[in-house]
Amino acid sequence: MSNKKTKNLTPIQQQYTALAASREPKRSVVKNCLRAFVSGGLICLLGEAIRQALIAWGGFTAKTAGDPTVAILIALAVVLTAAGVYDKIGQWAGAGSAVPVTGFANSLASAAIEHRSEGIVLGVGGQMFRIAGPVIVFGTAAAFAVGIIHLIVRALLGGAP
């Protein structure tokens, strides 16, 4: 795929990978993007509706309504995953159902359910973050880096910590 990889290939291999690339069925990028936009948009719209409902009737404020909204969406995604529906939605929606927080919940729930056969501790506990792990690891690392940069910038500007 990358240039570094093709350099290691022999001329015959390069010829063949070029042929294979030319015969590869084109991914319908426009259609996939449209689907991702619509389905992702709808999930966010649902989230907004839940948030507004919580503010209007649940006694939450604009600031505190975020957490319960996310929790409700996650619960919904886990139920759909358990019912065996979320993977079907995923094939249609692509990133549209993977990027929202529901996709994060799906990655946890699907791994947990799948590895139940290897036991509760090693299977469910050990494998739950099989897919979501990198998101947390690098999200945390990025947040740490941003925090350190802020710390340095503030020290340099001589302002309060």
Binding site: P25, A95, S110, A111, H115, I131
Partner: protein, 351 residues
Amino acid sequence: MTVRRTGHQTFIFDQHPIVRSVATVVGPMEGAGPLARDFDIVHADMMLTEKSWEKAERKMLEEACTLAIENAELQKESVDFFIAGDLMNQLTSASFVAEKLAIPHIGVFGACSTSMASLALGALYIGSGVAQHVLTATCSHNATAEKQFRYPTEYGAQKPPTAQHTVTGAGAAVLSNIGDGEGDAITIAAATIGRVIDMGITDPMNMGAAMAPAAVDTITAHLRDMRCNADAYDIIVTGDLAAVGHELACTLLHRHGIHDAAARLVDCGLLIFDRTAQEVQAGGSGCGCSAVVTFGHLFKRMLRGEWQRMLVVATGALLSPLTFQQGETIPSVAHAVAFCRTTRVQQGGET
């Protein structure tokens, strides 16, 4: 001795081992496909009422083996060897079934080429005279393969159009040096052991493209070793190249000037599903794919007299989740077995 080597990679059987019986077991998707009526057992439940996917796969393989022995009108004690393989790490399905069958067992791994690899080895056992009856079998399960090679089954990842759907199915065949009577039978004329070919494909979601050169290499080697043209066969069948790999294989065969092989090339991965109605992307794959299509569907058509000679080239992508994560390219292999439709007269000797 009734077996001898010809050329570099091929052995010929002067006295053909007979495919005495076959049995096929498939899952719900395959049971909803165009070949549904050719399979012996169709399960409506992917889990087969078992506790895990792995147990379900094992049960399918066991059912296929037991049924094949039954169809051969043999007792399992009279089967000399059991040669089998699957896609699971350490060939667990084959090993666990071998424990239950208690037949001396050797496991083979050739990824999806295992069906023909085990058949070729079984035929060699018969041809060399060390065995009278050999059971060969292979299986794959969509969910166990997804779990081991890709994502949890309930994870909502989108599959690209080059991806293939692992067949849930098990196929078993009993090879014998004597048949169970008169009439038409499928026999094994020759087998070619393939070389491992790596043409630099890295995308595990495009295994058809990785395997197509291996299929072409083995077909070319077989024709060269046998000193025959592709028209010696009524049909040439590849294991699980599916839409992408099939087209590439045809292109490569044309480039090698073997036009009549390209003209009679069909693919098990394309036959088993209806790609317009079933969501299988490029087509089927997996050990079970070539096994159930060859044993269940193609043999029946041969016995109906549609074809006299058939070459089945089962293809396997020899990758693991580890190798592709480490950025390795995908090596592939293909093994070919030449089948004949033979009309037998009473052969004498006990059955």
